[in-house]
């Protein structure tokens, strides 16, 4: 049953990923990306990471995608013209090389059964909270600072003269 669900999610994720890069209309690409995001969230639920699934939908589906659609629609961006820059064959070859390289790196992986600090008994959200605010406190503060800087930068860059 889990395998069936995994194959459904994986097929839709890869299919909509291909649609994102091959569709000409940008709005259609953005919607295919939304489908990919939601099925990736489904995959996270399958991996017992419900909190990550929830914030995936909220942040990617609710913020990132909305930003893309805002920019596309505010600027009335027309369809893409002649599609491929450079040589399509070269790009596909490089894509295949990267795929082969990553698969090669994967095949050397041994999944160690290392004892981590898993607190799954208390549920995913509490477990993330317990680790995020104690052991990873500094990266958390740095992340909030990055968000502040990004917000200020975006406002200044997009301001009308």
């Amino acid at each position: 049953m889990a395998k069936l669900l995994f194959f459904y999610f994986a097929t839709v994720i890869l299919g909509s990923g291909l649609l994102v890069i091959f569709l000409r209309n940008i709005v259609y690409s953005a919607l295919a990306l939304l489908v990919a995001f939601i099925h990736i969230a489904g995959l996270y639920v399958l991996l017992n990471a419900e909190f990550i699934a929830a914030i995936q939908v909220i942040v990617y589906g609710g913020a990132v995608l909305v930003l893309y659609l805002f920019v596309v629609m505010l600027f009335n961006i027309k369809r893409d013209e002649p599609f491929y820059r450079g040589n399509l064959a070269v790009a596909l070859f490089i894509g295949l090389v990267i795929l082969g390289e990553v698969l090669l790196a994967i095949s050397g992986t041994r999944a160690y059964g290392a004892p981590g600090q898993l607190i799954q008994a208390t549920g995913n959200t509490e477990a993330i909270g317990l680790v995020l605010y104690t052991q990873y406190l500094l990266p958390f503060e740095v992340a909030s600072f990055i968000l502040l800087v990004a917000m200020i930068g975006a406002i200044i860059l997009a301001k009308q003269r």
Partner: protein, 100 residues
């Protein structure tokens, strides 16, 4: 039970799709969207390892990757907005001049 390698292969394929998307499209918005695919491929990898190694570190890192992706989209689209105001074309070959 789904073996770990299935998730890793899915992540590798999604990563390669994202890289190909960046290479073949001429349109800055679609390039940024392919970059989002790459981020998501890496996230799948992290969560799969977090599940199979029974460690919370992978999931915490996913939160940080999400933060970085959101910040990057914000700044990237602000740059696109500022640059498109002048020339009304999003063809990436015409983004040579850094004048805002």
């Amino acid at each position: 039970m789904v073996p770990l390698s299935y998730y890793l292969v899915l992540s590798a394929l999604l990563f390669a799709i994202g890289v190909t998307g960046i290479l073949i499209r001429r349109n800055i918005i679609t390039i940024l969207m392919s970059l989002e695919l790459i981020f998501n491929a890496v996230n799948i990898n992290f969560v799969a390892f977090a599940h199979h190694l029974q460690s919370m570190t992978g999931q915490v890192f996913v939160v940080f990757v999400l933060v970085i992706a959101a910040a990057e989209v914000t700044v990237g689209l602000a740059i696109v907005v500022a640059a498109t105001r002048r020339r009304t074309s999003i063809n990436v070959d015409e983004f040579g001049i850094m004048k805002l």
